[in-house]
């Protein structure tokens, strides 16, 4: 009994710490004005401004330094390093399923490394060049990049991966790839395997943390299912049965029967018209897959912003924060890349397609 009280006391302390930490972090989320200011900012002030936005990893790329000390990581790598740094702080007070869930959330960067390794092996890229393109995962890393980069071919690489942390995901991907040798099959199986794993880890937490986490997961998974359905069906022209198979098995708002019906339809408009009325309202005016994605992402961001300001459990708020932070960083990346390519301010703003988050 005493142990139980001690355990729940510790949990309470940790939850208070996490909630305080998330609240403090949420002050770092960027408003549209902040992003807009970056578009116009003189290059010399970039490092200081990014530091002020709480983005030291990105600021490091703009600091003047001697050639041999310059930060040679790509923008993408620095963005991921920033997210990993913040995740590491957030998971500090967590344990068990909650910790495992947020740690797994970062694994998609490593899955992306796995895809880079596989593509590199398919094109016979040099191990050193391949290694330079991988994102360092720091304490979140679960695979040995050095060893994998030196595999002789895709077959050996897949075999090595099957003996590692992502064995379950890779085993299915290997089976899907082995006979067809189609990189699409490999990528689709890896993505699907990763998200199925995420859902599996979210399930016990949804019971414990309640509706806020379930709603966030629903926003995420429904968006993935709808966008994948539209992309596979109308961009890649896959048959309905295959499209349905490639979607995530777990259901939130979009039921299996509805997804089967949607996959059988012949045009994007028909799919959007067949959606439930609430979805039609949300997606009114969307005419192509990217605009559906942006609209759905916007809805998830609004939901995450509401969750962040609510009294939801600490882990759910931390997850909501990470969703929003990543969205912010994608916008910062668009701005920085646009500036690097010398695009006009108008073109960069158009590429952002970001509207302010409303808290309903």
């Amino acid at each position: 009994m005493a142990g139980l009280e001690l355990g729940s006391g510790k949990k309470l302390k940790m939850s208070a710490y996490l909630n305080t930490r998330v609240s403090l972090y949420s002050g770092r989320l960027l408003r549209d004005q902040d992003i807009d200011a970056l578009v116009r900012l003189p290059q010399a002030e970039m490092a200081e401004t990014l530091s002020a936005y709480g983005l030291p990893q990105l600021a490091a790329g703009f600091e003047p330094a001697a050639a041999h000390e310059q930060d040679l990581r790509s923008l993408e790598q620095r963005i991921i390093a920033q997210i990993l740094d913040e995740t590491q702080v957030l998971i500090r007070p967590l344990a068990g399923d909650e910790r495992s869930f947020l740690m797994y959330w970062t694994s998609r960067f490593e899955i992306s490394n796995v895809k880079t390794l596989l593509r590199g092996k398919m094109t016979g890229e040099r191990p050193a060049a391949l290694l330079a393109r991988l994102t360092p995962m720091g304490p979140f890393g679960r695979i040995d990049n050095q060893e994998l980069a030196h595999a002789e071919d895709v077959g050996e690489l897949l075999q090595r991966l099957e003996n590692g942390a992502y064995a379950g995901i890779v085993r299915l991907a290997r089976r899907a790839f082995e006979d067809s040798r189609d990189p699409f099959n490999l990528d689709a199986a890896l993505d699907r395997g990763y998200y199925e794993g995420l859902i599996q880890r979210a399930r016990p937490l949804e019971k414990a943390e309640g509706a806020p986490l379930r709603n966030l997961m629903a926003g995420l998974i429904d968006r993935i299912n709808l966008v994948w359905l539209l992309r596979y069906r109308f961009n890649y022209g896959l048959p309905p049965a295959q499209v349905y198979y490639l979607l995530l098995g777990s259901r939130y708002s979009l039921s299996g029967t509805l997804l089967r019906e949607l996959a059988s339809l012949d045009s994007l408009e028909a799919v959007l018209d067949a959606l439930p009325p609430t979805w039609q309202t949300r997606l009114a005016g969307a005419a192509d897959v990217p605009s559906v994605f942006i609209r759905m992402e916007q809805l998830t961001a609004e939901l995450a912003a509401r969750t962040l300001q609510s009294s939801a459990p600490g882990m759910t708020r931390a997850f909501a924060y990470l969703l929003l932070r990543e969205r912010d960083l994608r916008a910062v990346r668009a701005v920085l890349r646009g500036r690097h390519l010398g695009l006009s301010e108008v073109a960069i703003r158009f590429a952002l397609q970001r509207t302010p988050e409303r808290v309903m």
């Binding site: 305080t20 403090l24 002050g27 001697a66 050639a67 041999h68 000390e69 040099r126 191990p127 050193a128 050095q146 060893e147 030196h150 002789e152 085993r171 299915l172 089976r175 899907a176 006979d179 067809s180 189609d182 099959n185 689709a188 199986a189 896959l238 048959p239 309905p240 049965a241 295959q242 349905y244 198979y245 490639l246 098995g249 299996g256 089967r260 996959a263 059988s264």
Partner: protein, 631 residues
Amino acid sequence: MFRAEPLIKVQLLMLASEAQDAALELARFGAFNPVSCSVDQLAESPALRYREAWLEADSRLSKLLEQCGDTGAVRFPEAAEAPTLADLQELNDWLKTVWVACLENHEHTTRITEARSRLDLLEGTLARLERLNVDLAHLLRADSLLAVHIGSLPAGAVARVSEALSMTGHLVSRFDQVGEQAFAVIAGPRVRQDEVRGLLAQAGWRELEVPDELRTHPQTARSWLETERAGLDQDFGVECRVIDGLREQFGPRLHEARLRIALARPLAEAALAGVCGKGGLVALAGWVPARQMNELREMLAARFHGRYWLDLHQPAPGEASEVPSLVRYPGWLKPFIPLVKSYGVPRYGEFDPALPFAFTYLLLFGAMFGDIGHGGIILLLSLALLPRFGRMAWVGVAAGAVSMLFGLLYGSIFGFEDIIEAVWLSPLHDPIRVLGLAVGFGVGFICFTLLLNVRNKWAAGHVSEALFDSGGLAGLAFYLGAVGGLASLTGLVDLAQPAWALAVLGLAVVALYKWIEARAGLGERILVTTIETLETAINLFSNTLSFMRVAAFSLNHVALALAVFTLAAGLGTAGHWITLVLGNVVIIVLEGAIVAIQALRLMYYEGFSRFFSGDGVEFVPLRLSSERSRV
């Protein structure tokens, strides 16, 4: 012994064509820790290609040795030179050729193994299909309107595949499962086959090729299976002979490749730290013990006859975190070093805790496990295990000896307290005194660690931390004040007023320092200052109370022995002695292990965490080695 040896940073400029030989000589020298070089005019990294080629060659060699077996110990001839980049690339190409030859064999062997498993599966499948009573020849007719597939897929995917296939009018019927593989029959309209092909590939469907031989009478099918198996056995024998042939053909040259790759390793390793250069010049930078500088100069002069330039640089005070630590310990202290290093490596210039660790660890162990008999057994066991555990066993020998010494002081032998007279005190008869001594020792130990922290911070140039932080003089003032105040409350001393004033002053200075150091918004600043100041107060006292476990375990030792005696007293002669022996074994194994861990815990958390950053960089010199570990 108390701090790292003084090092000098050297920058060796020389001809690029001799870089690999220079690295090799430095590895033979054995006291050169490579680091990134920083010559602005030499902005290129000429050794990176070398390292890349070396990594590829080393990786291939490892795989080949795994396949063909070890080639024996590598000896380094005195005059051996390191391979050039061109040599290394040539070697790498040759290794690739050998690997392809081996890979072919490896793949054949794998295919045979897979074919054998497939035959096993076919055999099982045949038995199951027989039970289904299905005429396979009829079912699998190519001219039927119904297309039928027999095969396997991951068991977890069956439900999902069935759902998806129902959209194309197909049915899935599972008829068997082996491990995670489900065997199923899929049937549907032949005209819709194009729609399911992609789906089946995606789901990892493996068509079970039912050969004509299986579409017949079961007996005929079985004899076909046996013929196939015999054929595979024959193929496997051929592959084994091929492996032997490869080993004979490539073995000697593979051994030579190992030597050349080992000779190339120093430059590849130095390249990881950073070798810079431009045109025909390269610079290798690294740390060398100051007392070995002359030796280094002589070695370079003898090998390169003046074709080099040596630039020396003393470490600056702010550079301490980047300078590696090289501490030389006397032989008797070496067994304790792994225990210190498992916590961390002392930073350059930082106090090395190995010596106080060894003394205090043994003292705590002895105090918690004082028994002449048990200590003697630990001592003898450790001596017996010397050949197996090497130097580490000496920790056990020393712990056993100190345990015996405390046993003498406590008057305890195998738990018996009435055989010899206690020279000092018996914990069971004077527990309050033992508790007081333990806490007193804790106070002294914590003061000692705080003073060490002040010294370390001061030496590292962090004067404000040394004076005002919770682990600095301000923290020490608070701690001493609070201890004095509490001692006054119990009537031990009469210093209440000045002691509490000192404690309040110390804590106020710590809080002010935290406030200034927390560079954040107001909310975060208040949070950080409040929590960290409170933590200072709570930690120091909980750490002091932690030392009560020393007394608790010394009492526990006697109490456990009493429990064993009580149990034994209730049994007959045989039972009595069996219980005594088993009880003592339990005490030595269980309590001995717990006490060893507790003493280590006290050292790490109550001691090291206070003054020892442990974030130093170990001095890792370039060495000549044929081990296949990755650098």
